[in-house]
Symmetry: C3
Subunit: 488 residues, 3 copies
């Protein structure tokens, strides 16, 4: 019966057709079948996951199975995996009536995105020119998860305002653009960006903002009643925040060099994140009446240190350098939530539901430039000759690159990432404006009712209300008569 | 006072005695003491966890502590551990008033089950005939967790309809049956089943279904008001879903061969799960008015790919093969929730609360047969000679077994698992029908009130209602008078 | 407008000033800046996380990067990290209106505490006398997390009754005291305490209890309405419980010896925890009418086995010894919640919100003495000569210490930890009584409204109530007229 109201509401009040009964299954089926075909043509196991490993080991004088890359990277992979699905997913459950969409659509688009990412990244980075095959291993899985992250960040800016079909389109193009900009930044410009300040956060953030800008909804205030949290939805969002915060050291160290590279990236990120928490709390408290803290800041700006360390984490930025990065980005990010998001909405007509500008775009950009500075300041006495070569991969055609040049290329890489995000997002935004994607009307945003079968809450159902009243009456009758059977 | 109502309700309305104040503590104490005695007689550390390891290492020319199996398997163990306690536990919190029972009884029976599993599996697999001792290490802990999983799956079919004492009985017999069927399948038939499609999922699923069938409650509709979710309980269940989904690659690779075995199993499972998500969403959307998604499908059928890859994950099934498995099982599992569960309930008188038929029994059975086909199709050119021997363990008395024969035995193993589940479950079901276990009455199912001290919610307590009204009045008075002290 | 009520309430009803708009930001900024300066002066990467690792590796004939301590300890570190932030944090969300404070302040103080811990522990344990620098690696991060745990335990006793500024003070002194007692116990007395029964749990527990005793609030009953859980807050708390329970084997094994030490500690803890669950359930059920279980016991006492194994986990306590420890501490801890906490509150004027006495102080003390007994009973035939030296680190000046002497020192260490907790806590308690810290009034405890911007729940806002009524009316109208558009 509740559906009746819902149905009527849809028919009479909203001009948009949110029926996705054909489009969503069609996209899912067609794209998944395409994945199967393309995987069949291109994707194979690499030598460390193939049954030929025993022979490979012998031929290459590898003394033990523990040298398989699986044991270097699988724990980090699982932490990254948790960040992508629980971290990003639960961070987006904070809205009072969009928790299903937050965690559920995140799940859908990441599951598609990682398949497409394996292909796209494979074509650019791991295509064997002789066999025409892409070989994958645990590092490919981590990179695929990273690649999804760009699109999930973009989802943060769009949360509640788009249909799942639109999100799949955002992911298809997002992963494609990601693979291209990553190829340019990491391969052509030979930048280092292990934790993806540039390629993931700056790109993903500006990509989402550009899409959101093109999809501006002038009457979004009609959904204002649902654009906020309730007590328990904020607690759910803290699950996302904490898993992101805790596992960010794994994120930034997942694909760095074996040994000191992974070790140092984890330490630096751990410190930057800790520092972010204190400055976020400080600014949040300063900004509110009576010094009260705002959950939005705690849920988001505490993570800015991890974003900003994405590039520099593997460098010798020093422990106190990491603390300084976290210190500054915690402040900047919280100020972003206080001032920049309202400004963007009011003056630039840019609606950014989760504030990805403050958590990803700006700290990501900063992280890119911090990486450039730290790279330019690298010194043989600090790194050792071999350490410098290892850390910046000054080998082959880049053997003679100076650290100053490297710093310049790092800065250029950051600009490339932003440019890809803005231009790509604007184009994708226009594609999403075609009236075929089933997006919600302005007065129907942030509402799970549109795309989910939502259980009727007890309180809203007349029979149960009666039941409750009945219980309260019984309760009162009994308490009045001082009945005391419960002592038995 | 609220308890008074509850108490009266129990006394007058329900015919069944749900008082477990004697039986539950008695079972817990007696069984736990039995565990201590049996552990004292039988269980010892293995050579990798014993203080003699330093000597063992020297004698066996092991170059480094990193060669200790702990470092190969502990990260996977912890992931599996999370799946058992948070994954299964939170997946069963979806009912509006059975979240305590879902996560709490899961906790209880897994904590008992893993102890009993160490003994049962030890007697069958790790009993040293000379010393009469079982030695345990990290792989034993993983296997014990796996063994519990069978009984936790069975709990899914019984959720809300049985007492904790009954669940402990289900677990006692479940673990026992598991150890026997596992011995037959893995040792006698020499099947491979690293992720347990057969021994865990097919067995556990049919075991639970058979028990549920014997315990059929014709008047269960009297509890219908509680057999459903509310908004936040569905979000809690997503915690379970996601941790299961994310860590399933660890589940299927936890006890596979060091090196390529673990590596490949993780990749295959990762891919199958991703594929399942897209087809689950597609079918869920197709089946509902206006293409809305159903949380039940998203919470469950997305996992079917992991179940179905339990046997074949360590084989060279190829990446696209994994996608195909996930594609098909996502569809089949969602169809199961749409059509098979209602059919079973209506025509076979089988009440399956969580739909374990669709998530475990059917995909597990399919996974067994998929494993048989992939094994039969194994080829020396694909695996290499050594790889084939390694993967299928064609050593000792099985050195001359052909892959075709192996395939036949894999299929036979699947049938053994199902037979054990069905027959064992039927017998255990009859044991549980004795009227001594404190199970709830038909109008009292799915209700935490029966076995838990449930906090009275604010809304239901008269004093707080008054307090709230009071607050609203104050609120209105103040807003009417435009009082503005808050600006200070 | 709702804030207006709140504001008035604060102005007129409560005598205390809870405005922390100056103090909290000031403390956060000043302390964080101090951390940066001290890190700049003292903290450097150790040889395994420094870019010189490649050279270090060659010079020390380390064959592979996998020998870097990162790969031995990072998975355990991440598990410990989850326990600190999600485990402790969510365990403290159980109160109906203090979930923000539970998880949020836990986040804040752990983020500060770990930085201060790196310095304090570094000065005592890792200061290079030549360079005057502290070098840090993954083991330092684990120890820093451990050190925070002491203060987070203390927070459990104070939950809902103190301001975040007070908590930061508790943490500053807590970490300082921790580092000193740890130095005395581990270095001077040469005790073994890998999982910290003594140095973490006994110290932290008594530290919190002593503070709480000094801060006794005679009129705390005025906040009684908020000192309890609601249904969903209890489910949130189970997230904390389970992550603590699952990862406790990693906690107790995180810094034990490579190889058998880590392996054995994990097994022992796993078993003790399993055993605790069964006896907790038994006692909880026995103590309640009709055998109902109490969530408070399940959330807490199930963990007692892990606390009590903190010292002995790395010893050859045997698997059945571990079960016995879990068996007894599960009982003792549950009895603590039933009888000791009420007794302490009534007769010793000690208010212990989370019952840290029962989960940390008492089991921690027991764990210390269990460790002493197991150490005193150690035997060369069980450990092997080398194993004994390895396990108890009988090297250098302690080469000739007997196991009996070691047992005596272990017991002495436990007493030192308790003494530090009690005396230190009393002093810190007096410091916290200065009326400058912004703590809440007695009728204002356990309430997130005091320090957080709390979203107004839908049910409490008049406009939405109207909207809901409107919906119900529409709903009824429609159902009366049997409108059936929804079939389309």
């Amino acid at each position: 019966m509740g559906n009746c109201v819902d149905c009527l509401t849809n028919v009479f009040c909203h001009s948009k057709n949110t029926n996705i009964r054909v489009s969503l299954p069609a996209v899912c089926f067609v794209w998944q079948i395409a994945m199967i075909i393309l995987f069949g043509v291109f994707i194979r196991y690499d030598e460390e996951s193939d049954a030929h490993w025993v022979e490979f080991r012998r031929e290459n004088n590898i003394t033990s199975d523990i040298e398989n890359d699986f044991y270097f990277r699988y724990p980090s992979f699982q932490d990254v995996h948790v960040m992508i699905f629980v971290g990003f997913g639960f961070l987006m459950t904070f809205l009072k009536r969009y928790s299903f969409g937050g965690v559920g659509f995140n799940f859908l688009i990441a599951a598609f995105g990682l398949q497409w990412a394996l292909l796209m990244q494979g074509w650019f980075h791991a295509l064997n020119p002789e066999t025409g095959k892409i070989t994958i291993g645990v590092e490919s899985l981590i990179n695929a998860d990273f690649c999804c992250a760009g699109s999930l960040i973009a989802y943060g800016a769009l949360l509640g305002k788009v249909s799942p079909v639109q999100l799949l389109v955002v992911t298809l193009f997002g992963v494609t653009l990601f693979a291209v900009e990553e190829y340019i930044i990491l391969d052509l410009l030979h930048c280092r960006d292990a934790g993806g300040s540039m390629v993931i956060h700056a790109f993903g953030g500006y990509y989402g903002l550009a899409i959101s800008w093109v999809l501006y909804r002038p009457n979004l205030h009609q959904s204002k009643r649902l654009n906020g949290s309730v007590y328990h939805s904020d607690v759910f969002a803290m699950i996302g925040t904490l898993f992101l915060w805790m596992f960010w050291p794994s994120f930034n160290s997942a694909i760095t060099d074996h040994g000191d590279g992974q070790h140092r990236a984890a330490i630096n990120t751990y410190l930057a994140l800790a520092s972010s928490v204190l400055t976020t709390v400080a600014i949040s408290s300063m900004s509110q009446k009576r010094g009260k803290l705002d959950m939005v800041h705690i849920q988001n700006a505490t993570l800015a240190g991890g974003v900003a360390m994405g590039t520099a984490a593997e460098f010798m930025i020093t422990p106190y350098g990491s603390l300084i990065v976290g210190f500054c980005t915690g402040i900047i990010s919280t100020f972003g939530y206080l001032f920049v998001t309202p400004f963007l909405e009011k003056h630039l007509k840019l609606q950014d539901t989760c504030g990805v500008h403050n958590l990803h775009a700006m700290p990501g950009m900063l992280g890119g430039f911090i990486g450039a500075i730290v790279a330019a300041a690298a010194d043989e006495s600090v790194y050792s000759r071999e350490g410098l070569i290892n850390t910046f991969d000054f080998e082959g055609e880049f053997a003679n690159r100076s650290v100053g040049t490297q710093g310049g290329f790092q800065a250029a890489g950051t600009c490339v990432a932003i440019a890809f995000g803005l231009v790509g997002g604007a184009i994708v935004g226009f594609i999403l404006r075609f009236p075929i994607w089933g997006d919600p009307a302005d007065d129907n945003c942030y509402d799970d009712e549109v795309y989910w079968e939502v259980p009727e809450d007890e309180e809203a159902i007349p029979p149960v209300l009666e039941y409750n009243n009945h219980m309260i009456h019984k309760h009162q009758d009994i308490s009045e008569s001082n009945f005391s059977v419960e002592q038995s």
